[in-house]
Symmetry: C2
Subunit: 235 residues, 2 copies
């Protein structure tokens, strides 16, 4: 039975890395000693080591050790043996390209379907959806496919941002971009605002955190859902 | 000799479509009767016909007729015979996917290298660079490659946006995204603010419009350039 936390962001404004999620992580990873960290999205181009140190520091506050996937001799075995897994944010194109490069999509999917606790933030949440086609990231590398883990039967847009009514900028709003997505794709999209996460326990997918989420379905007006709403029927 | 206008945006806040470019377009397309419009990026999911009508209305103010590429029986022949070409903005992934689907990249590149006047806005400007890897768009479809026309020896980031110092949002700034690009790619990136365009005449690439542009080179601090600066050495 799946056991996932899919968070919009790792960090809230003015807080430390993962600080707002710390109480949740303590119970989520209860019984684990060491978390396997997938650092491939490496935000801002920091190294795998630097990124892993950041995760180590945050998880130490929850009494958990962290091992970077890049430190393992065989990545597939490291995934198969992990007690808990965390994929951090950064660039989704890079993350997905690396997961394909090392043939990790299938082992990771199987491992998470068996119930290994997982935390994703931002790009690490994006890959839990059907495809990465609703990422906000820049396509700095070309992955062999946009298909991702499909651990939930929809797509996720992390860092969901409402249109700014005072803006004079003519770049597309997030809502316009997701509308364009639905011209060519049918899966629903969950716009996860910063401070929200999805808690996936077996078949139950529940919105957690303080903000409402905005749901986009093809050929329907977008709508808001409250925290604690079950999204099991969103397919 | 190349003759291109590569604009950051089609529209400035509070203005009509292409309004701020109208004086420039009149002289740029002088001698043309009809402009071939490439509507594939279709912003917000509008149809090719709707998008072509928008272009028709704007170009009528410059005394020019417009024909949509989708209205041609053979797209390659339409490009080869065009007097002038305009590619409008929207979704760059979709635009590039369609150009590959109909094998139009090479005919379009050859045609523009011969000197046919071209206007690109937003996505239509993005494709003039080496790759589409610095687009801001959502990857709603999977193109067979991110390589684009390479009419200039660098990449372009249209709708370039400075970081908002008052923002509490944790999504990446544009500058962070471009820094991530340079972890994996060497070409310079021109951050073109709305209201700017590049004027390419033969070998001369000149920044036009009112805003400064922000230039990103690998392993260098980003820097600003003034309007009228020649960017011929930016490779």
């Amino acid at each position: 039975m799946k056991n996932l936390i899919l968070a919009s962001t790792s960090t809230l404004h003015g807080q430390e890395y993962l600080e707002y999620l710390l109480p949740v992580l303590k119970s989520h990873f209860k019984g684990c000693r060491e978390i396997l960290f997938i650092p491939y999205a490496r935000p801002g181009g920091i190294t795998h080591d630097e990124y892993t140190q950041l995760a180590e520091k945050a998880f130490a506050n929850a009494g958990l050790q962290v091992k970077g996937l890049h430190q393992s001799e065989t990545a597939i075995a490291a995934i198969e043996e992990a007690e808990g897994i965390f994929t951090g944010g950064g660039n989704t194109f890079l993350l997905v390209q690396q997961l394909y490069r090392y043939n990790l999509l299938t082992p990771l999917k199987e491992k998470l379907e068996e119930g290994t606790p997982y935390l994703g933030t931002s790009a690490g949440t994006n890959i839990a959806g059907l495809t990465m086609k609703t990422t906000n990231d820049m396509p700095i590398v070309y992955p062999p496919s946009f298909n991702t883990l499909g651990l939930v039967p929809f797509n996720i847009n992390p860092h969901y941002l409402d249109p700014d009514p005072t803006s004079t900028h003519k770049g597309e709003t997030r809502e316009t971009r997701i509308r364009e997505f639905h011209q060519f794709n049918t899966p629903p999209v969950v716009g996860l605002r910063e401070g929200s996460w999805l808690e996936v326990k077996g078949k139950d997918i529940r919105l957690k955190g303080e903000p409402l989420a905005r749901i986009f379905e093809a050929d329907k007006e977008p709508y808001e859902v409250e925290p604690e709403t079950l999204l099991n029927d969103l397919t």
